[in-house]
Amino acid sequence: MDFTDDEKFVEKVRSIAPATQQDIEQLRELLKGLSISTELMESLIQPFGIEIDFSKMSSRVDGENNG
């Protein structure tokens, strides 16, 4: 997921829909949240042959792990 390149980002949005500048700014804000989620997913995927171990994952709502 990449929306950091402003020019490409605006180009992509406008290729999909006639979004206004305000729409684009709102979308950019929302995508920050989604980007955190996709990066988190990537970080959890394990190398071939290793299981994903949920017992080592976060224990708090904010994503921290207090054991």
Partner: protein, 470 residues
Amino acid sequence: MVKTMVESLHFLPLSEQVKLVHNGSVSAVENVNAHLNMINSHNPKLNSFITIDSKGALEQAKKLDILRSKGKTLGPLAGVILGIKDSIPTKDLKTTNNSRLLEKWIPTHDASVIKRLRNAGAIIIGKTNLNEFGWSRPTELDLTPPPWSPWNIDRMSVGSSSGSGAATTARMVGAALGTDGGGSARLPAGAHNLYSIKPTHGLVSRFGMDHNQHSEISPLCRTAMDMAMMLEAMAGYEPKDDMSWPQEVPKYTNMIETDISGWRIGVPYKFVTSAPNESEVKEAYDNFLHILEELGCELVEIDLHGMLEARSANFIVLNSEAYQRHQKTLSSNWDDYGKITRIYLLQGAFLSANDMLNAAEIGRAFKIYFSDLLLENNLKAIATPTSPFATAERSRLPQEHSRGVNACFTAPFNISGHPSMNLPAGFGESDIPVGAMLTGALHDDISLLQLAFAYDQRTNWSDLMPELSE
């Protein structure tokens, strides 16, 4: 005597209304009229419905009454008055999704679940309000503006199945259908003092609706027995649906009453207390646990991991699916969408196939982890609040909504597919109800219903109704 009964018919639980229709004490037409009176009196203020089908409901009722007069066997939901979330297609009845895009859409088919409910004798009286496409934050500019809570007319109803929650609470229907992709039925059930079960994935088919891997059709009901009756009618194998489970549906209503003493309930206290719970939520949750203990359940403190990761995975899948469905019309009909809705829907355009597959894999891993957690600790369910917030206003603050904190307890169990249920648990300071949640093992929906029934017998939440002024 009969007149009094008919006048108060809509105040009775759905299960009692069915008995009266079955034994002929009241007719299905009388039941429809009792509920139409409530709709006419209260919907103008509450805005629970998008479409009211008085004529269609009366026609359905007349057919039932004729069947009864001929001595035919009536279905288990004969004469029950239902509201259906306006995202679920109903034949010959407008299904707008509360969007200008579908403002005039009249489906030529019933979704599978609607067919089942009609076959059971249920009467559909109208289509209930929702956030546009069940996804956006509601605004006054929506096709139909948001519903108001019958418990406090100054407060918006929590969504996305907001109209279903409000209509059931205000006795405009006996029960209603919602859909739950991240908490959209359990959250409004909690905020309306209702019971609602998000069934095990595949138990209730979504066939005839838009494809969505983790959103389950869920009943919103006033009592635990009502919930069991609804689920029994809704559940069942649908061969055309690749997500439907080929299993026989248990007779929930026959099995619902059981001794739950000794049942072990997991309490993930560390996780629960890490949420930004409002004080009313904390109080209601503690009281909920106390009642479970009084019922003989053994509370077992457990560590629960990965809820944020599972919620994030669900969030990605929801976004991806939402965009996939709307990609064509976002391009061609941009101005027909609500200004917030179209931005929410567009997010998925920036997800890759790999993002989606990563999320699906994390979801599968969480499913296994949570199933093992229940099994290894010999737990019937885990208990959490339903939402950290007692007010729709807070859950709808853009920063809270976009982070999905309001769904921190609910959404993980959408991607895992485990059955999960809201139970009424108290009231906040603005008279807005607060819910508590039990989540159980895959395909063990019956244990949740049994817990709900015992809890409902022990508490008086389902006897309470809001004071509604005309």
